[in-house]
Symmetry: C2
Subunit: 288 residues, 2 copies
Amino acid sequence: MAVGFVGLGVMGGPMAGHLLAAGNELVVWTRTPAKAEPLVASGATRAENLTELARACETVVVCVSRTEDVEAVVEGLRPGLQEGALIIDHSTIAPAAARALATSLAADGVSFLDAPVTGGSMGAKAGQLTVFCGGEPDVYQRAEPVMAAYSKRTALVGPSGAGQTMKVANQIAVGGALLGLCESLAFAQRAGLDLVQTRELLAGGAAGSWAFDNYGPKVLARDWTPGFSIANQRKDFGYAREAAGEVGAPIPGVDLVDSLLAVLDEEGHGDWTTAALFDLLARGVKPA
Amino acid sequence: MAVGFVGLGVMGGPMAGHLLAAGNELVVWTRTPAKAEPLVASGATRAENLTELARACETVVVCVSRTEDVEAVVEGLRPGLQEGALIIDHSTIAPAAARALATSLAADGVSFLDAPVTGGSMGAKAGQLTVFCGGEPDVYQRAEPVMAAYSKRTALVGPSGAGQTMKVANQIAVGGALLGLCESLAFAQRAGLDLVQTRELLAGGAAGSWAFDNYGPKVLARDWTPGFSIANQRKDFGYAREAAGEVGAPIPGVDLVDSLLAVLDEEGHGDWTTAALFDLLARGVKPA
């Protein structure tokens, strides 16, 4: 039976392409029909609407943006979903929303796996994503062969919602590493150090990080094209605040980085990559 | 002519040992005489005082703690220093203090290289330190063969003070990475994720860092033995604040991490390793 794919953006487009290349019969739906054209040209079928897609597919992969987008997609799919169907959601949404969707779909006999990804657009293109999965072990096992088409690593990290909780933990750590990179390079520039040498020396030692290796070159080039946008990072920080609030975890680093990115956002630069935090700090802007 | 070494602590002890093992005639002085005994047993000479050490050595390596310690050592050496002598200072001190020492010593015909190290006690033991050097190129070239005994990498990063400025940039980045690690793992624990799995999954992706690889295991073991102590990190943050203030660079991440480490310090845990920031956040303590 066909695999359905909903959401063909920067992440979903290449992921769906890998599913097609792996020999799956693929039915797609996306808000912007033009985005489906390359896949349709390669043999995918475009569904007229979400309900029709759900009727044609036992497994539906979702890769959209926000909690409310996933909820809307599920409502669209629902009338067509068969008992025993499986929804794999690769969107990053609030852990509590993922738990609620799993509960609500279970009442209809539909399985839901929250499965946010890391690895960015490069990882999606290369089929080398890492997937944090929350759900029942048998649901995870059903999803594994599908996700294998575009991931280098999948891990079941707990019950429904736990995949999103792991993604929150990931984004909290990403925030700290981003701050360390941008704050140190902005200081170095103001203090007259050579930035190329600074990035290279710091990357090789106790200050080193994925951010130093991957965002550092963007800072040196003052290249603020995403990458991962400030708007998306702030969306994820919103879910982090929600999840941290539920368990009473302090996340002062997220609060700080978000307050700084908010300045860039308000300046109209929400579509810049997060490494543009360097630009703000290099200008000497302090948190409010 | 002999090489002098002042300060035989956790860092200086092994560094001096490498100099001796490399075949140098070594004269040592340290505040706690017992610390010199293993080196004396291996062939080093213990100087009665700093002035005597300066008389016996054209090159003096210093590895002590704070700005005021280096200033006191230089005052002790000064009466014995010969014109043309070289002081290599591996302590982490304020950039402005390093510049002032270089200027003051230049008036006596003595060269001074500020040369703070990274790589920690493990790097010192293995002779694999990285050294950030500030000074004149000819002074750096004179120091290189000495530093080669205990470093994997040395770099001249600018004029006097620039080595310390690079160390400040390094410690700023270390602060952000530390925060990312401890804040994400403290959240993960409160949210019920498996910490071993969380550390391993996050370390391999966009959240990854030297801190995740090296301090992560200490967090999992709740092992707060240094490593790099909270007191030392806060000392370096003090120099970072001083240097950042001089050039008008905002360092909100350092301010935040220091305010959190201050709580542990005030609880009497200044000798714990910095990764103990996890313990504070896991208890739900928020910044003041």
